[in-house]
């Protein structure tokens, strides 16, 4: 008798903290092939997690995110070249102007197809003169790394995938800085929004500490060695340090509602391989004047043609929650657009959504209708972001003595 090979079910990938999440009783979901916590019911669940980040502090395991390092041979810089191979490669494959980054600074950018649509969005960190770290999405890791390798062969640079080298924790919320102060000797006040440094964290030397996040709140992301023992030790120390500030673990559910309120794009929703930069409203991260880059020519043409659709914020007027992929209709009842992300907003206590609509319907206050099952529910176009974190009020200055 012949033995039969059962079809193999692709195993879900796990972060080094998977065991921690399971022990905490997290509700786990398959997120782009990853076994990830969506919420932790024992700590109150999604809404409590969302509110902890807006009002206090929460911690997310975001180790599923990928990391690509692109750097040039140091001799090419010191050899008097105006532009290093690493920078030249990054400039070629991404839409923002990486030459404007100082060492220790990061920015939002994207990898584009020649059509001006999205391979992925990325955070580019300038580690040194000719050395860059691109933080990419989990679900697009393989595609991104292949894309970066294939499109940098003309440059004398080194492309290294570091995705599995790091456990990435996002400590987010107005009290995140208070938690971090207890864990590191780095001067956190010197790290402005979208800047980073290296310092000792939880006794581990030379850890990347970035003032970045995906919540619309102040916060930090730290990148620690990905072995299980170190990852669990750091997680435990973050929880312990955060206890007095009410820290709770937060899952992908709260991560989604937080980023939606802040109108931060999610790949596969607001941005994709069929949506271009202008449609997504990401103009200010796309530097057409920096020189040529992949996608630039198509974007130039798209700009001259004009927009067919544009990303807008919606607020439901009556009862009903507009959700991802629900259709949006005009006053005449014709389907003219689609919701890319929709959810109740725990901060605003309203039902909000991002949707692609024809530019003629994009003015604030425009009335549209969301198809929710059999009913067309009224919604209106509103200003975005839905939520903006309150500006820090400067502490009264102590009188200076001369």
């Amino acid at each position: 008798m012949q033995s039969v090979n059962l079809p193999t079910i692709p195993e879900l990938r796990k972060t080094p903290l998977n065991g921690v999440h399971r022990r905490l009783g997290a509700k786990m979901v398959n997120f782009g092939g990853w076994d990830m916590p969506v919420e932790y019911p024992a700590n109150g669940g999604l809404v409590a997690e969302h509110k902890a980040v807006r009002g206090g502090v929460g911690v997310f395991d975001v180790s599923h995110m990928g990391d690509i390092r692109v750097y040039g041979d140091e001799t090419s810089v010191s050899g008097g070249k105006a532009i290093g191979a690493g920078l030249a490669a990054v400039q070629h494959i991404s839409m923002n102007d990486a030459s404007k980054l100082a060492i220790g600074q990061a920015h939002y950018s994207a990898l584009l197809y020649p059509q001006g649509t999205f391979v992925d969005d990325v955070i580019v960190h300038r580690l040194s003169e000719d050395d860059f770290l691109l933080v990419i999405n989990a679900g697009t890791r393989e595609k991104d790394i292949n894309w970066v390798r294939e499109n940098t062969t003309a440059f004398d640079c080194i492309v290294e995938e570091l995705s599995d080298a790091y456990t990435q924790l996002a400590i987010q919320g107005p009290r995140a800085i208070d938690v971090m102060r207890k864990l590191t000797d780095a001067n956190l006040d010197a790290i402005k929004n979208y800047w980073f440094t290296h310092g000792t964290v939880c006794g581990l030397k030379d850890i990347l500490i970035a003032r970045t996040g995906y919540t619309g709140e102040d916060g930090f992301e730290i990148y620690v060695p990905s072995d299980c023992a170190t990852s669990e030790k750091v997680w435990a120390q973050v929880m312990e340090a955060g206890r007095e500030f009410g820290i709770i673990p937060c899952g992908l559910g709260a991560r989604n509602t937080l980023r939606l309120e802040a109108k931060m794009a999610l790949y596969g929703h607001e941005i994709s391989d069929t949506i271009n930069v202008w449609e997504a409203g990401l103009d200010r991260y796309c530097k057409m004047e920096k020189g040529d880059f992949i996608g630039r020519a198509a974007l130039e043409r798209a700009k001259s043609i004009g927009l067919k659709r544009t990303l807008v914020g919606l607020e439901m007027v009556g009862r009903g929650i507009g959700r991802d992929e629900y259709r949006v209709c005009n006053e005449a009842g014709e389907a003219v657009g689609v919701i890319t992300s929709g959810s109740p907003s725990p901060t605003l206590c309203k039902n909000i959504a991002l949707a692609y609509l024809p530019p003629a319907l994009a003015d604030i206050g425009t009335r549209v209708f969301v198809e929710i099952r059999a009913t067309k529910c009224e919604a209106q176009v509103v200003a975005t972001p839905f939520y903006k974190r309150p500006r820090k009020v400067a502490a009264p200055q102590a009188a200076k003595t001369a």
């Binding site: 509700k27 969506v38 999604l46 809404v47 559910g253 929650i321 109740p344």
Partner: protein, 134 residues
């Protein structure tokens, strides 16, 4: 939370509390735990007809939309309108204050096809087992 012994249950996690020929219908504690924070409820109008096995409303959490299936057929005599303002009661008191509708049964024998509390608890134990091994 205990599953009342006098209720009957479905595999879609609704419960039925039959008194005479009128049944109260709600979703179980297991269902509300699976959903998370409930924020929205859509219920049928009084006078509408439910058909066993067909969707008659929705319960939504922040994250998910869940259809509610009629465990039995009949006419809706009451809908729990208080849930429109306090959907969170479905999380706090799923087997009590957060009943969804009351239905006058058109065929009381349908009730015998549903699970009793013991059978339902065994059913959700096997569901939880599947989750843990997933």
């Amino acid at each position: 939370m205990a599953y009342p012994a006098n209720f009957r249950y479905t595999k879609q996690h609704e419960w039925v509390d039959l008194k005479g020929d009128v049944a109260s219908i709600g979703i179980t504690d297991y269902a509300q735990q699976e959903l998370g924070d409930v924020v929205f409820v859509e219920l049928p109008k009084v006078g509408s007809q439910l058909t066993a096995g067909k969707s008659f409303g929705t319960v939504e959490s922040v994250k998910a939309v869940s259809e509610i299936y009629a465990p039995v057929s009949g006419e809706v005599t009451e809908a729990n309108e208080t849930l429109h303002n306090t959907p969170e009661n479905i999380n706090s008191d799923p087997h009590g204050a957060a009943w969804l509708v009351k239905v006058k049964l058109s065929n009381t024998s349908e009730i015998s096809g549903l699970m009793d509390a013991t059978a339902y608890e065994a059913f959700i134990a096997s569901e939880k087992g599947k989750e843990a091994s997933a």
